[in-house]
Symmetry: C2
Subunit: 152 residues, 2 copies
C-alpha cells in the first residue's frame, strides 16, 4: 500500500528525478494512482468487513459468479483468475466454506480436484454487497485526492 498523505509537488518530483531518465509527469501520475487506489482499497476493505467479507473474498465470489459456462470452478481456475498465490486462495476458500457462502464438490475422475460453487447464501451476499461496492468506487473516483491534508 502507499500511504504518503501529501504527495510530492511537481517541483519536488522534478528535483528528485532531474538526474534520472524518467518523465516527471508519469511519476506524478503513478504516485497519484497508488495513493488513490490505496485510499479506495482501504475504504472498500472497511466496507467488506462490515459484511463479513474482504476484498479478496468478494472477488473470489465474483469470479465464480461471472463464469458464463459453468456454475463451478476448480480451485486452480480460481487461483488463475485471482492472481494471488495458492495458499492465499486455500485459506480464503476455507473461510468461505466455513461461512457457508460456497460449496465444494469432489471431481469424479481426478481426486485432487475440487469444484467450487456459490451457495444460495453466497449469491445473496454478493447481491447485497454489490450496490455499496459500486457506490464507494464511484464516490472515490469523483473525490479529489486530498480530502484531509490540512497543510498546517
Amino acid at each position: 500500500m502507499f500511504f504518503l498523505k501529501d504527495l510530492p509537488s511537481r517541483q519536488m518530483i522534478e528535483r528528485y528525478t532531474a538526474q534520472y531518465d524518467v518523465e516527471p509527469a508519469r511519476i506524478a501520475a503513478g504516485l497519484e494512482t497508488m495513493r488513490r487506489a490505496s485510499v479506495m482499497i482501504r475504504r472498500l476493505e472497511a466496507y467488506f468487513a462490515e459484511h463479513g467479507l474482504s476484498q479478496l473474498r468478494f472477488l473470489f465470489l465474483v469470479v465464480i459468479d461471472r463464469e458464463p459456462d459453468h456454475a463451478t470452478l476448480t480451485v486452480g481456475e480460481i487461483t488463475q483468475r485471482l492472481d494471488v498465490a495458492g495458499p492465499v486462495v486455500a485459506r480464503t476458500l476455507r473461510a468461505l466454506l466455513d461461512a457457508g457462502l460456497v460449496h465444494a464438490r469432489k471431481d469424479a475422475r481426478d481426486a485432487r480436484t475440487k469444484h467450487i460453487g456459490l451457495t444460495a447464501a453466497g449469491r445473496a451476499r454478493l447481491t447485497a454487497v454489490l450496490p455499496g461496492y459500486f457506490a464507494i468506487i464511484d464516490a472515490q473516483m469523483t473525490t479529489p485526492l486530498d480530502p484531509d491534508s490540512p497543510s498546517p
Copy 2:
C-alpha cells in the same frame, strides 16, 4: 489489494451496474486504478525487499529527508505525514533503528517526544534506491494493464 487478473469488460460492468445509480465509466476507471496500483505496489515491494526496505520504510525515510526546515521529525509528525496507524509507525521505526538507517534523540523539554533523523547510512540507502523506484513507476505507468492475461 485488488487482485482480479481480468477486469470485467465494459459490458459486464454495465450489466452489473444497470440497476444502480452509478456511472459505468467511473467504475471501470476505478477498477483499473486499483488493479494498476496493486501490480505497481507489488512490484515496488519486491524491489524494496531486495534493498532491505519496504514501501513504508522507504516513505518513512522520504518524509524525513524532504523536510525543508528541520533535519529531524518527531514520531507524531511522521505519523501525520504517513497516514498509517501509530503502531505501524512504531514498528517501522524500530526496524529502521535496528538497521541503523535513522537515529532517535530525546527531546530536551518533553520526555515523551523523540526526534528522528536520517543517519548517513539512511541517506545513502535512500539515494541508492531512488533511481530504481522511479524507473519502476515509470515502467508500470507505460505498460498496458494486462501484460499476462492469456484468456485461454
